[in-house]
Symmetry: C2
Subunit: 383 residues, 2 copies
């Protein structure tokens, strides 16, 4: 298997892009990645997207975006709900690693804000089990609320113990011009924000948005003189039961554990080697569970990393969501996994200004689809 590197990245701001169609959004990110890479050509296009059929009445999105950017080669859409971005990245990586192609453009894209909120809630619910969860009328935030409630009960945490996750993401987003909510929030704002599905309040929940993020990947052997190239040293993917009630341990992200285990093994790394972790804080409970499953905290003890400050940029612990995470950079669902990848590249290249993790050499990104049903973990490294 050939080693793989990222040589160019691009993104749009996560925003309400009323004036851009989904193909235009994707095009902006792709053109930016081409510019960043200093080359235009690629052999295949991999699109991560969840909702184009339901929200945009557009399937065949690979061909749509290929058409828009003037490309006639292979183009596919990969869908694994909210982890579609990372799944597309992994598919592109394997295609290049196989030798079948020599370069892959990967783009994650989602356009959500011009659909009615009720339609978005219904569309997002398709990430849960249609026959066994949706049938009960439970929304996606409702499922996460059930998990958080049980977690608080089981391990004795209070709601405010989750505040550091939200505050940290917002504080970091203030330095990210592409973030949907680029401002810090106070603990008081966290406590007083509106309840969505108890115990999840507005500050526990990530906002939707329109956005696209893209990366150009090539064999590592072709770029050894490029000091900005970032190597993919580990990649793992796993699934769990779709419905939360079917899991023996509903408070443990088994697929996060497995996918991280595969990625660590491939990279020859352990949690202590990771300089920062772009995790999937769709809800603050997911930040805690992700840290636990990946070996940064004991079961039930994820919130301690928030309360101790270990998740912050300059603490020397394990900085997370360094560009704002899902909570404040925003969560354009099928695009999120690619935002995590390109933000990791920005950190490794040292391009994050006031949000820079000093001396970062190894970063990890983890993308979650459904309530933990599909999880993909990547480890990236710069020489």
């Amino acid at each position: 298997m050939r080693k793989i590197a990222i040589i160019g990245i691009g993104q749009t701001k996560v925003h309400e892009h009323w004036n851009l169609s989904i193909r235009e959004l994707a095009g902006k990110a792709i053109f930016a990645a081409q510019k960043d890479a200093g080359r235009k050509n690629f052999d295949a296009l991999f699109v991560g997207n969840m909702l184009s059929g339901l929200i945009d009445q557009q399937n065949n999105l690979g061909a749509v975006i290929a058409d828009w950017v003037g490309f006639k080669g292979e183009a596919v859409k990969i869908e694994t709900a909210c982890s579609s971005g990372a799944s597309a990245f992994r598919a592109g990586m394997m295609a290049v690693a196989s030798g079948e192609i020599d370069s892959a453009m990967v783009v994650g894209v989602e356009k959500m804000t011009d659909a009615a909120p009720n339609d978005i809630t219904s569309a997002l619910a398709t990430a849960a089990d249609s026959d066994w969860e949706l049938e009960q009328g439970v929304s996606f935030v409702g499922l996460n609320a059930l998990i958080m409630r049980r977690y608080m009960h089981e391990y004795g945490w209070q709601h405010e113990d989750f505040a550091p996750f939200s505050l940290n993401s917002h504080a970091n987003a203030a330095h990210n011009p592409h973030a949907r909510l680029p401002f810090a929030i106070s603990e008081k704002q966290y406590k007083n924000s509106a309840m969505i599905a108890a115990p999840i309040n507005l500050m526990d929940a990530s906002p939707t948005g329109d956005g696209a993020a893209s990366a150009l990947i090539v064999p590592l052997e072709s770029v050894h003189n490029n000091k900005r190239a970032v190597e993919i040293v580990g990649s793992g993917a796993a699934t769990d039961t779709l419905s939360v009630h079917s899991r023996k341990m509903p408070l443990f992200l088994q697929a996060a554990y497995l996918s991280a285990k595969y990625a660590y093994a491939q990279a020859g790394n352990a949690p202590e080697d990771i300089d920062f972790f772009e995790l999937h804080d769709a809800f603050s409970i997911m930040a805690a569970l992700s840290l636990e499953a990946c070996g940064f905290a004991e079961k039930g003890q994820g919130p301690r990393l928030g309360l101790s400050g270990a998740i912050k940029l300059k603490h020397g612990g394990i900085p997370i969501c360094t560009r704002g995470g899902l909570k404040a950079r925003g969560h354009p669902v099928g695009a999120t996994g690619m935002y995590q990848i390109i933000e990791s590249v920005q950190q490794l290249r040292g391009e994050c200004g006031e949000a820079q993790v000093q001396g970062a050499k190894i970063g990890m990104a983890q993308n979650i689809g459904g309530s933990g049903a599909s999880i993909i973990t990547h480890i990236l490294k710069i020489s």
Copy 2:
């Protein structure tokens, strides 16, 4: 790049499966492929599907099916409209070829018949260009009718000149127990059938259906003592503009030409080496265009191969749609590409009884998404 082989196949009948959910359908094909292969384990699951979000309110279909078949590893859905099946197969092939995994289960699955016909027409229209074609109210069959009308005008063909495509598919389906319409039709039935979108009548159009088809793929090096193993010797994919009106040559399938060119080059084959061709006769005009783009007929002369009988099983020409094609085996859209693959395996193994192409050693399968926007070609060979 490692060479790849298929060691097990499975399928359901294409039918109205009122009593089976989409996960159960997929499971039946996967369990059958495991039984056929004589092994149960695989490293990753690749699902080809177009409409689960729109019709079944179920995204994250990779994880859904993995869950159902008791698998906790990597699982993704690949979507390229009606070519999703072949795209999933190609993704699985590249994943195994890369060395990242050692075995891939690929399943194409679609469940269409328990949605209202109008909903299906709308859902299928998402394979066309939402902003530029759907906006005009043109359905998918309408787009194909425009292409067929222009083709007849340009090259001087009459409607009845397309009859052999439909008659051939139905005659072959009579020997396929998994076909949706397993019976022969007469030329009179073809001529007298109801008009759908002139000049496309009911016998020019493939039926939808519920179905799933699956294959287990592994590195060739691991199976050299297995005489039933079928090698994938060529694979190619390409795209074209999504909207038909944007094409310089709307009567030529450029993506079919390119993907076949890549597959021929990889396999070291030419059209004259191909013993049979499972092509994408969603509409009879597409059979003609596919034959032309892949080098079996000159531009505008595809119907001659039908009229001369060259497409029939025992003529010595280029047999097509040997198990019934889309027209009579049925077209459960995201599953179709996988039916083409496993039917090719059946021919190469000599398991087709009265529909057997005698001495077949090399077969080709071509799957089309949209009105020619996404096309994938595979060449399969048995030793």
